[in-house]
Point group: C2
Chain length 182, copies 2
DNA sequence: CCAAAAGTGTTCTCCGTACACCCATGT
DNA sequence: ACATGGGTGTACGGAGAACACTTTTGG
């Protein structure tokens, strides 16, 4: 996958990073010997990024230490090792904040999409329903969408217009708001 | 110094991080041999934090690799090694954004201070002048300031009121807004 | 008395929110 | 015909920005 929306959100570096499981449990789960001197001589630092991807296209594969690696519904994530649940919580919080003053969706929607499509994406990320009329006004207000003459036919009801991101304006809007892409 | 306002803002981890000086120049300035394989086998990661301190109380001391370590006016910082100028730029940008929706000043002002004192702090950080009346309304709107009966006398003009941060409300306001302190 | 700084209130605009009606389409 | 979803416009309220007059104080 290329051209992924990837956003650094925080670096985690606490000396003690066990939230759900004790160090003993953690080491046992990892199949590692418990190194009692570890915290005294070293520190693990994790740089957190979140990405927006069409999840059906991204196939998670476990690494050597990983028992299982797959997609989860955000509300059903089980207790993870270390502070990884905190990481996810913070990623979502940051993404939601970013979404509130930032257009998002370029890499998540097909080239042409309808306003309801975009709204559903927002509602999924925010975890709440939005007002159709206000949503549309806000999105159009960003001045990054181009409405096509075409409509999406084949649906069961009134045919909605198709829109396309104006790539240039979209990139510009992102650059103005995002502090750093790296 | 203790109780410092310290905020992580970004982690820098590009493979190539020379902005102002070439690798040759950089290594020469550091008095290090130029290791041509360095970028192939390792990567330097810097976790950036900014702090707000009363700068007169913080005495910078150079470390082994540092030629000079002292305070600079933000507009007069010379060309630094690596991407350190970018780091400073981003720190300021983040701080300014944070300031726009966040009360700040607890560790930077004396226990009792006047509204003009606070405004001057904001103007210094933001690098622009603010309207007295609107500034005051906004600050009071945060509901974290307590106005004392006292006024600051001895000035050349009308005596301004003294204010004090309501520590409890101040902490609460910070906790509500700051995503992560770590 | 006068200059300079500080206290205070009103108006306007913009943005976000709440809300209602009409239109198109497949069943 | 009708249920469902989509297109569109209006009204209200709060926050920020623009802006002026009065009061105090030292010189």
């Amino acid at each position: 996958m290329s051209e992924i929306f990837l956003q650094q959100f925080h670096t985690f570096g606490d000396v003690v990073r066990y939230t759900n499981f004790s160090k003993q449990e953690t080491m046992a789960k990892l199949g590692l010997p418990e190194d009692v001197t570890h915290e005294l001589v070293s520190r693990d630092v994790s740089v957190g990024y979140y990405a927006l991807v069409e999840f059906a296209n991204a196939v998670p594969t476990p690494d050597f230490f990983t028992e299982e690696c797959r997609w989860w519904d955000i509300d059903q994530i089980p207790a993870l090792l270390f502070d990884h649940n905190d990481m996810i919580k913070l990623a979502l919080k940051t993404l939601r904040r970013q979404l509130s003053y930032q257009p998002i969706g370029y890499n998540l929607l097909p080239d042409k999409f309808t306003m309801p499509d975009l709204q559903q994406l927002y509602e999924t990320i925010l975890g709440q329903l939005l007002d159709r009329r206000n949503f549309q006004k806000r999105m159009l207000g960003y001045d990054i969408l181009e409405r096509l003459e075409e409509r999406k036919t084949g649906g069961a009801h009134k045919a909605p217009y198709l829109y396309r991101f104006d790539k240039e304006k979209y990139e510009k809007a992102l650059a103005d708001e995002i502090l750093f892409v790296g």
